[in-house]
């Protein structure tokens, strides 16, 4: 039963992803990308990662896609033109593709986590729920990465304003 749901969600996610890259209209692609994020969130739920699923929808499907949709509509590029746009980018794209594929294989070959880590984490989740477990770990053991994240967000914010400001002054 669990498997059937996984295959269902996975097929829907992959189908949506394929639609993203085959649509000529960028707005349609964006809609399919939202759908992809949604089904990935459903797979997170199957993995009992509830908090991650909610964040996937809130941040990816909710916020990042809003930014992308706004950008598409604001700069008016709904239709992609097919006058061979990728000639120069193609080698880089192929290189990146190979790199990503290698990464996927690497992760798949190591997919079996050490019993001990997976075991304790799952026990903790079962006892007190996903959000509590993540919260406790994030704000005690992984404090430093958490504070670094705030610096990263600050840098992103300042960068965005500097760039947008230049546009306004034009």
């Amino acid at each position: 039963m669990h498997q059937i749901f996984f295959w269902g969600f996975a097929l829907l996610a992959v189908f949506s992803a394929l639609m993203v890259i085959t649509r000529r209209n960028v707005v349609h692609s964006a809609l399919f990308l939202i759908s992809t994020f949604f089904w990935v969130a459903a797979i997170y739920i199957l993995l009992e990662a509830e908090l991650l699923a909610a964040i996937q929808i809130l941040v990816y499907a909710g916020a990042i896609m809003v930014l992308i949709v706004f950008t598409i509509l604001l700069i008016h590029v709904e239709e992609t033109k097919i006058i061979n746009p990728w000639q120069r980018q193609r080698p880089i794209a192929i290189l990146l593709g190979v790199f990503l594929l290698g990464e996927i294989f690497l992760i798949l070959s190591r997919a079996l986590f050490p019993e001990s880590i997976a075991g304790t984490a799952l026990q903790q989740v079962a006892q007190e729920g996903n959000t509590e477990a993540v919260g406790k770990l994030l704000y005690t053991k992984y404090l430093f990465p958490f504070e670094v994240a705030s610096i990263l967000l600050l840098a992103a914010m300042i960068g965005a304003i500097v760039m947008a400001k230049r546009e306004i002054e034009k």
Partner: protein
Amino acid sequence: MDTSLSLFGDYQVIHNYLPILVFIIFAFAFAIGTLIFSYLVRPNKPDPEKLSPYECGIPPMMDARERFSIRFFIIAMLFLLFDVEVVFLYPWAVVYNKIGLYGFVEMMLFIAILLVGYIYAWRKGALEWE
């Protein structure tokens, strides 16, 4: 509880989400069903005047899809950044009574760092809407 829900055995979490999936399917079915039903019963006599977009009575000029103010883009960007920030606050709020003062101080530090960005945005006029 419905017997179909117990097929997962130990998967307690999914068990709780199955009604939501069913609800989503139902909501879509309601929306699409209603549209199809109204498609069957309503009249359909289009003519060019009816189909032209509304523009205070004059024939529409130019394409509506123009370039837009960059203000909307700045708002979307600020939204994304603060959305990520608020996501960090949810797990913190939930465990606050367990991690106490230590957790409070580190979250205040986190917010203070982002406040720098907020003040910068304010000073640079990104929050203005002229």
